[in-house]
Amino acid sequence: MTNRNRPGVGRRSVLKGAAAATAVAGFPFVSRAENKPIKMGMVTIQSGRFAMIGSSSSKGALMEIDKFNAAGGLNGRKIELIIRDSKGKPEEAARLAREFANSDGCEVIFDADSSAAAFAIQEVAKETGALTIHMNSETSSLTADPKLHVPTAFRSARQGIHDSIAGGSYAGEIAKQKKLNKWMGCSPDYAYGRDSNNLFFKYLKRNHKDAEVIGETWPKLAQPDYTEQLTKILQTKPQALYSCFWGGDLTAFIDQSSIYNLFAQMDVFAINVADYAILTAIKNLPKGIHSGSRYLATFPKTKENADWSAAYRAKFNNEFPLNWSWENSVGAQFVIEALRKTNSTDPKKLAEALKGASIDTPFGVGGKITMRGDDHTIVNYATGWGQTIQKDPYVPDVKAVDWKVILELEDEWKKEMKYT
């Protein structure tokens, strides 16, 4: 923690002094301090090619925050959400997080930025001790690696390792049935792409011993033209292909693969297809793509989930909720419930309340999601795989994944990585 006997009296002592002074002076200011808003700062990306991250994250968080404020807030204190754009630069994200904590009086920092920014913001959380929720980053090491652990930082997003275990087990079943032994990987060449690809194949091979990776190709993130990758895939002739492309890259890849008639020549496992941004953008979605569920209004197939999706669309101009939407909703909800439980905004108290907490949510298996106490990340969120059809509900039959299996294999993975 930073040394406190430095010049700079620190925001808290200034506020205490001011409160004391005004109490003595008897200003009406003091009684209204009760209704001072609880400020929360969200760092996200609102411009450039990943602008939809900011758009969907802020909306997901607002679903819960507006609900909380409408119900009266915390003893009349409402949450004020300040949203700022890091423009996709991790150092700018860190600067904004620091500004939120040090200058703007924010009690909570919501990191709704990229996974690169998440590491930078984790450093800020360590330095400032502010309560920080990583809403979007799926990089497992952020919470799994004990060296990066910060007592006041939590993650309310899905984890790469969970997704890979789930995908490997689903694909392993299908591979066994259809004897898919020759595989290829085609994913963007950056940390998420590499991790997702490598872990998927690790768990695939575990479930289907005969699976063999006969080739890999690594396009750059945001590369516009995949012709060189596609021709390589077509020449290598695998029986199945894995890809963790997402967003605009995924739609471009699907569009370009279609004209090569790639989908007829192999089974494609593209983990990020089942996301409304993709499903509604692509004009001719090939059918039969195996995909993991990012967010679907029909999975879990519950009334609560369908209602939430309808409410989101009604509130936000008929836009579809995305994966970031539910993750931000969950993150905001965890914080709100911790606020209610502790009746305080002290980051240490909130962190204590968050460890091991469970919330009632449409996105959890059996209606609940839990924030694990030891590594501060969520478990028991609904996740599954299924095959696409060309219209709504797009993935009619999602096979939910067994969390017992996920947790067991995650434990094993942590030991292998020497995290435990």
Binding site: T2, N3, R6, P7, G8, V9, G10, Q46, S47, I83, R84, D85, K87, K89, P90, E91, E92, A94, R95, L96, R98, E99, N102, S103, S115, A116, F119, A120, E123, T139, K147, L148, D189, Y190, A191, R194, L221
Partner: protein, 341 residues
């Protein structure tokens, strides 16, 4: 004024500036203020070093970010992987930048304008590709994680933010002083001579290639100091620091502040950072606002603010002089000389 006494005078000014900077956090106790100044130190040194090339040598480099990124990553990597002290890592980083600048400079400096610009950019983007590809060492696109170890040295503990602030302010003052004296020295005047008329210079016995290369190496060395400060500030390194946008922002700072006045780049860096921070705070339409300001400067003022001010001042001085000469002149029909540009 002799060179030696002006050096003494400038050192005194530098010392006073440093003392003022050291005292400021007691007047403005907000952490945001010290953070701002540390960033300003990094970019101020970087922009001023670029101006050694653009303003003083006429060498328009688009790829100066190469040294910012190199400085940032080298320093962080050395501290993370080798048990050396901070001053040693600092010197090693500078040494590395000098070596790289010698190689890149030798290839580039004799090319004409546009080609020099593009080749320097190509080298910078090569470094960027290397950083992104070499994930096991550099962390790839996520940047360097794990923080930068800061063993204390000479009583300075860089894990304390006030010490980081003092260290950065000190570097800012020292580097500016050094660069100022370089441009005021005979070497600096040779640079300007080459800038103004490269064809004539060899006739005066100047080895244009050698002088330009030296300027390029000096600029690269100081540029990497900016990177070192940034690496301490963010506790690591990000590939953005080697991307072409950082060169673009530095050029913007030069154009904002001015390239003919020595402190122009520092002024431009301040303006740019303030603009960036304020616009981000006030609106989500960052692009429209920042782009609008850029256009205002590029199309309206067409020169940096300090250039504008200094030109105005010299115009006024010129017209005062001609007015004075006119009143003292008796010759009828004598026309005053037009105010020079």
């Amino acid at each position: 004024m002799t060179f030696r006494s002006s050096l003494a005078r400038d050192c005194l000014i530098a010392l006073i500036a440093f003392l003022v900077l050291a005292a400021l956090p007691y007047i403005f106790p907000s952490r945001g203020f010290t953070d701002f100044l540390v960033r300003l130190a990094a970019f101020g040194i970087f922009a001023t070093s670029l101006n050694l090339l653009v303003g003083y040598s006429g060498m328009e480099s688009f790829g100066h970010g190469l040294y910012f990124g190199l400085g940032c990553y080298s320093f962080a990597l050395i501290m993370q992987n080798f048990p050396v002290s901070i001053p040693v890592a600092f010197l090693l980083t500078i040494a590395l930048s000098i070596v790289v600048a010698l190689v890149v400079g030798a290839i580039c400096v004799n090319l004409s304008e546009i080609y020099f610009a593009f080749l320097t950019l190509a080298f910078q983007m090569l470094l960027h590709s290397l950083i992104i590809a070499w994930t096991p060492i550099t962390g790839g696109d996520q940047g360097l994680t794990g923080g930068v170890p800061r063993p204390p040295f000479l009583g300075i503990r860089l894990d304390d933010y006030y010490h980081v602030y003092l260290f950065s302010s000190g570097l800012l003052v020292v580097c500016l002083l050094a660069m100022y004296h370089i441009v005021q020295s005979p070497f600096g005047y040779t640079l300007r001579m080459i800038r103004d008329n490269a064809a004539r210079a060899p006739f005066l016995g100047v080895n244009v290639f050698r002088v330009r290369l030296m300027a390029y190496v000096i600029a690269g060395a100081f540029g990497s100091v900016g990177g070192i400060i940034m690496s301490l500030f963010v506790s690591g390194a990000f590939p953005d620091f080697a991307y072409w946008t950082i060169s673009g922002e530095a050029i913007f700072m030069l154009m904002l502040g001015g390239i003919t006045v020595f402190l122009g780049p520092l002024f431009g860096a301040t303006l740019f950072l303030v603009l960036n921070d304020v616009v981000t705070k006030l609106t989500t339409h960052y692009g429209i606002f920042l782009g609008g300001v850029i256009l205002l400067f590029a199309l309206g003022l067409r020169k940096g603010i300090l250039d504008f001010v200094s030109d105005r001042l010299s115009d006024r001085r010129q017209s005062e002089l001609t007015a004075a000469s006119r009143t003292s002149s008796d010759a009828p029909g004598a026309k005053p000389a037009p105010a020079g540009e």
